[in-house]
Amino acid sequence: MNRIEATFMKLKKEGKKAHISFLTAGDPSIDQSFELVKALIEGGSDIVEIGVPYSDPLADGPVIQAASTRALASGVTVEQVFELAARCRTATDIPMLFLMYANTLMVYGVERFIARCSMVGIDGLIIPDIPYEEREGILPYMKKYGVEMIPLVAPTSKDRVPLITSECNGFVYCVSSLGVTGRTSEFANDIEDYIKDVKSQTSLPVAIGFGITDYEDVKRLESVADGVIVGSAIVKEIERSNGDAATLKTFVSKLFFG
């Protein structure tokens, strides 16, 4: 059983929901990223997503785009992101994922990248610009090296959910109608129906990630989903505090537990 499945199973037994947090590697610097990942975990994260900075992140909102731009400006390389992951793996046993784009994977080399993920202890990949239809060149390698594909589902997915979640063993990442990360306005009311609909079509745990800014949001969404994903709010806090780990730990703890 992979770390992701094990985590969701354990949380379910305890009657808890998964707290999933995100940061961009190298924002503000790769050295600080290690302390910041530790802060996310100490603040109560069950799973951590590490964003691999990319020049053209078309599925991200302005906050995470800006983090990517800052990280690239600080000179972060893919190699350094792998080193960061390896270092984090020595400090924690919780699931770690990469959020990344297809081009990073292709230019590095699909098999080489996935093999390296497995080696440094990355449990799964979230690749927003690889939809179900484009998985065939990637999935065999993920299976070979035991790295999970975390499928993304959107409100427009409708009856595609069984297809999208087929051959996946981690969890389902539900995004809003916005489709890109960050806060949306009108969508809130339809969330329950949307999540129920997704859950009716898959046996995988369902996590939602969009525009969660405070504990109220977390509580509300935990009542419908198996996990909540917080990205932009954390990235904003990292920017605000200039990457201070102690501040981030307090912020995350408040966010997840009130």
Partner: protein, 402 residues
């Protein structure tokens, strides 16, 4: 409908766009075979755009270069001044049939933005154009033209604030508004079905050329030359000749200040060596660094200033059906000047790359051989860019544009 061209193409987009792309594909498949749709599209091409465009024998250019006979396909005579309108009208008519009320577009220098704003004005649709901040500043005239036509121009400040970032932003906007909005892509790029659809709306260039050259010469040309940024004018003129293996298809990429300078837009020609990757929803050849980040392209001509290329061009190169050559900023300016002075036609800087390449090869060919150059646009839009260069005795090339 096949979504790939060999190992290129595909649909590398967020899940939220998969249903909309399938809808678009179904609509395009249906209407591209629908007689009423085709009739309406042809009506507007003729009555509004002014097609067909002439295939003009450039007699003085031919005499000057002392080699092959040179014809110009005069896409510069289209309404709005370039081939872009052929595709825009096709997509906007399709948007209407699909019941969409709004259109969005990305633009670099503003030519596709102006064409889209024009089509939107013609059919009373709401239009938003995404344009990088850097381009907004250097192309004020086109920004004003779009506004005059009733479009809203959104300044994009993310990434490098140029065309590639404007395209990212247009895709993000489409994800947000997909229910009532149609995304009009300006070149043979993006996720399937766009490369196929844009090619099919541009193939009118090649279809006319074929008929015209057979009328004038009783045979097909030996070489067809067209500039390639994303590659829509080239794909449009190449496509009807792809099966005619005796016709050389030559795409011209912008070598900017020279490939060795690193400031260029060459992704197919092996001298620069692009990388296989994914950008704007397609798998194709790209300019990237070793970490997979996109390297900004450079060309004096904004229309060729793109770090990728349409997937079908990458395929045509792969199967050796087309070749891709390079022309520098300097050579393009020489072509620009030559055509202005000896034919009385001011070409777009984009098209000047194709002219410059013809200037290189025509003298090596026999008088009975025939070259067709796709003169994809007129150069009025570029005159302010090159004015200082010509007035200062052809100096200051590196200061132009960027």
């Amino acid at each position: 409908m096949n979504k790939n061209f060999g190992r290129f193409g595909g649909q590398y987009v967020p899940e939220a766009l998969m249903y909309p792309l399938k809808e678009l594909e179904a609509a395009f498949d249906k209407y591209s075979k629908d007689e009423d749709f085709i009739k309406e599209y042809r009506y507007y091409l003729k009555e509004y755009v002014g097609r067909e465009t002439p295939l003009y024998l450039a007699q003085r250019l031919t005499e000057t270069l002392k080699g092959a006979k040179i014809y110009l396909k005069r896409e510069d005579l289209n309404h709005t001044g370039a081939h872009k309108i052929n595709n825009v009208l096709g997509q906007i008519l399709l948007a209407k049939r699909m019941g969409k009320k709004k259109v969005i577009a990305e633009t670099g220098a503003g030519q596709h933005g102006v064409a889209t704003a024009t089509g939107a004005a013609l059919f009373g649709m709401e239009c938003t154009v995404f344009m990088g901040e850097e381009d907004v500043q250097r192309q004020q005239l086109n920004v004003f033209r779009m506004e005059l036509l009733g479009a809203k121009v959104v300044t994009v400040t993310s990434g490098t604030s140029t065309l590639k970032d404007a395209t990212n932003e247009a895709i993000r906007e489409w994800v947000r508004t997909v229910e009532d909005t149609f995304y009009v892509i300006g070149s043979v790029v993006g996720p399937h079905p766009y490369p196929t659809m844009v090619r099919d709306f541009q193939r009118v260039i090649g279809d006319e050329t074929r008929r015209q050259i057979l009328e004038k010469e009783g045979r097909l040309p030996d070489k067809i030359i067209a500039c390639v940024g994303g590659g829509s004018n080239a794909m449009g003129i190449f496509y009807p000749f792809v099966e005619d293996l005796k016709v050389d298809l030559i795409g011209i990429e912008a070598a900017g200040l020279g490939v060795e300078s690193g400031k260029h837009a060459v992704v197919l020609n092996k001298a620069a060596g692009g990388t296989l990757g994914v950008l704007h929803g397609m798998k194709t050849m790209l300019l990237t660094d070793e970490n997979g980040n996109i390297i900004p392209a450079h060309s004096i001509s904004a229309g060729l200033d793109y770090p990728g290329v349409g997937p079908e061009h990458a395929y045509l190169q792969d199967v050796k059906r087309a070749t891709y050559e390079m022309i520098t900023d300097q050579e393009a300016l020489d072509g620009f000047e030559m055509l202005s002075k000896i034919e009385g036609i001011i070409p777009a800087l984009e098209s000047s790359h194709a002219i410059a390449y013809a200037m290189k090869i025509a003298p090596t060919m026999k008088p009975e051989e025939i070259i067709v150059i796709n003169l994809s646009g007129r150069g009025d839009k570029d005159t302010h860019t090159v004015m200082d260069y010509f007035r200062d005795g052809k100096t200051g090339l590196e200061k132009l544009n960027k």
